[in-house]
């Protein structure tokens, strides 16, 4: 299959196209660390053809001493192709769903806002239900689309000079409707002095905080409080999204950023979440070179903290790496 019996003679490149030295190969790491290692990479055949592989390496340990290691690899060409097709399908389906949804949301809002004449209170209530439901559908589509893009490495970062408070105010404007339905006091404030200027991607920032703030609203009882506090620091800006909500049980803290995670105390109260929002938030912030963490006390509330670097550096995306590999004949 590879044209060589000897692992050390097989050329290996990482998923982002960089050559992997023998010392960094799973079989060497498994031997040196004395524990199993699993990684995805490319093996290069003797004829130059590149094969994506999933590698599992395990150490051979006899009486506590490492004697060697065994490497098993699996060709994942087909799996990668299925992944790519799945991503394309979700992306296309999401775009197709969004256009009619935009029309539903826009017209319902137009009726509520009085652009098409007066409506009575009963009609307004029904229209608000349409707006609320279309927002939920929209959130779900956005989340699915963005997770697909992150996982397939096809998200594009557009760097712009922006003021963080202006972007956050835009997010608050969009969510004020949701906060008003629960009579939640939604406040944006700045702590300390310093510039709030960033060079980053405005739409990703909006997506991150739309998720965090809408979570805070959803998981806070009626007439509670949600505060967004922005603190400029040296090389980054810290944003705290603080709520007076139900909180996250301590035993679940380790799983908060996992895909599909939903805390048991929340599932009982709020049935509409997907458990994808915080997974997405962390993925998006990592793309921008930021970080996210939280503190929470059950029945008292939760604070999510995010750091955003002043200047986001464009990171090499797997898609670009793939294109480079193609050019290099890998």
């Amino acid at each position: 299959m590879l044209g060589s019996w000897f692992p050390e003679r097989i050329a290996v490149v990482s998923l982002d196209g960089k050559p992997v030295n023998l010392i960094d190969r799973p079989i060497t790491k498994a031997f040196l660390m004395g524990k199993p290692v699993t990684e995805k990479m490319y093996y290069i055949r003797k004829d130059g053809h590149k094969i994506p592989v999933s590698v599992n390496a395990s150490p051979i340990v006899i009486q506590g001493k490492p004697w060697g290691a065994i490497e098993i690899f699996r060709d994942i060409t087909f799996e990668q192709e299925v992944d790519r097709m799945k991503s394309e399908f979700i992306s296309l389906a999401s775009h197709q769903l969004r256009t009619p949804l935009s029309a539903i949301k826009t017209y319902a809002h137009m009726l509520v806002d009085g652009y098409l004449g007066e409506v009575n209170e009963g009609q307004k209530k029904s229209l608000n239900t349409i707006v609320h439901s279309s927002n939920r559908m929209n959130e779900l589509i956005n989340t699915l689309l963005n997770i697909t893009r992150i996982e397939s490495g096809t998200i594009d970062i557009t760097l712009q000079a922006l003021r963080l408070d202006v972007v956050l105010q835009e997010v608050l404007n969009e969510l004020s409707f949701l906060a008003a339905t629960k009579k939640i006091d939604l406040q944006l404030s700045t702590a300390g002095k310093g510039s709030l200027n960033l060079k980053t991607d405005a739409l990703i920032i909006k997506e991150v905080f739309a998720n965090l703030i809408s979570n805070a609203i959803k998981y806070t009882p009626d007439e509670g409080e949600v505060d967004i506090i922005v603190t400029p620091r040296g090389q980054d800006i810290l944003v705290e999204v603080r709520d007076s909500g139900w909180g996250i049980p301590k035993h679940a803290h380790d799983q908060v950023f996992s895909k599909f995670f939903r805390a048991q105390n929340i599932v009982k109260r709020e049935t509409t979440g997907t458990g994808l929002g915080l997974y997405l938030v962390r993925g998006l912030l990592e793309l921008l070179g930021g970080d996210v963490w939280f503190t929470s006390s059950e029945s008292k509330g939760t604070s999510f903290f995010c750091t955003l670097p002043r200047v986001t550096r464009r990171r090499r995306r797997p898609k670009e790496a793939r294109a480079d590999n193609k050019k290099a004949g890998l």
Partner: protein, 130 residues
Amino acid sequence: MAKILVVEDDRDLNNAYCLILRHEGHEVVEAFDGKEALEKLDDFTPELVLLDLLMPIMGGLEFLKQWRKAGQNSDIRVLIFTNMENSPEVNEAYKLGANRCIIKSWTAPHNLARVVKDTLEASSDVKTPA
């Protein structure tokens, strides 16, 4: 109040945007693809173009390439209104001189009116986030 060209292929959304902007007192002309927009611009000089990207016949990027070639019309603001956030197309639109980009499915009518106002008031050489 301003003169605005709305370029959007979805007729329901095009009608909605025209209605909202006329309600705010703007003079609005509509087009349903980039080619029709170029034709309308022969007789209509807007202060702002509200532009969709994905359209049949001629999309938003091709429209920008032709309309803004050799630095022409750079004093007219372009507000991209799309559902394709964080895509290469949005990056390309900025390179072709778009001033701002907002996401259709996120934007309520009263926010559209406000973003249009902000974009018109912003200095033409500063690109502002949505």
